[in-house]
């Protein structure tokens, strides 16, 4: 490769995106979360970010924060009226279980394996299941 060829080659922009670009509020909050079979699990009420320490100066060149989990639970009223739900009331779905982000957020696991669906499982087993005919499909 001679000098002329090197000069003609476009210089790659070091800040060009290396993957899919998302805006957290725009593309994640309030999206429906579906499991691997397409069953609705919950909605994205908030997102947990790892690597941000409140009040600590960020040294230049520090690793960027990462998305740790999707949070669900009683977050929606807090976003409308302010304040915070206690951390113990939040249900986290680890980001490593997310398979794709589009109009919905698709997970790579079944809903039954998630804490986020325990209310539905409990209602199904303890209430719906006690109604006569509640344990099988309609005939």
């Amino acid at each position: 490769m001679n000098d002329e060829t090197v000069q003609r080659m476009p210089q790659p922009d070091p800040r060009a995106p290396r993957g899919r670009v998302l805006d957290a509020h725009l593309h994640l909050l309030d999206r429906q979360v579906l499991d691997r079979d397409g069953t609705p699990v919950t909605t994205v009420d908030d997102v947990e970010l790892d690597g941000i320490e409140l009040g600590a100066r960020i040294e230049p060149g520090s690793p960027a924060p990462t998305v740790a989990a999707i949070l669900t639970g009683p977050q929606l009223p807090m976003r409308i009226f302010g304040g915070h739900a206690p951390a113990r009331r939040r249900v986290a779905i680890p980001w490593k279980l997310v398979a794709s982000v589009g109009t919905t957020v698709r997970l790579g696991v079944g809903a039954d394996s998630l804490d986020a669906s325990w209310v539905e499982r409990w209602v199904s087993g303890h209430i719906i299941g006690r109604i006569p005919g509640g344990r099988h499909d309609p005939e």
């Binding site: 290396r18 998305v67 982000v101």
Partner: protein, 115 residues
């Protein structure tokens, strides 16, 4: 920390001057490979000088319809800019402070599948 702690925070320059509010956090799915999706990193924060909230993102995409809503949203968020995470010096409760000489970048999202 959680995202909603960051949204609506005051965006401040190093000398303490307020330049707007953080309305969104830009992410990139480009980190360490994982079984399903690569690690998703924060690459910057979006700052709107005139509003604390941005819901539909007209000012960051090429969407033009419905015309009235698109124009209103663009007007409301005129002057929005992106600050790379490298230019963020401090995140505290209710405020984000940028480094001296930080760069205001174009907030437009790269073309991607409609979502």
């Amino acid at each position: 920390m959680i995202l909603s702690d960051l949204l609506g925070s005051d965006a401040l320059e190093a000398d303490g001057r307020r330049v707007g509010a953080v309305v969104d956090v830009r992410l990139e799915i480009s980190g360490a490979p994982a079984q399903l999706l690569a690690a998703t990193e924060v690459t910057g924060v979006l700052v709107s000088p005139r509003s604390r909230f941005s819901t539909w993102g007209y000012e960051r995409r090429g969407e033009t319809a419905p015309v009235l809503i698109a124009r209103l949203q663009r007007w409301l968020h005129r002057g929005m800019f992106l600050v790379g995470w490298d230019d963020v010096e401090l995140v505290d409760e209710g405020r984000v402070v940028f480094r001296g000489g930080y760069e205001r970048r174009d907030p437009m999202l790269p073309p991607s599948p409609r979502t």
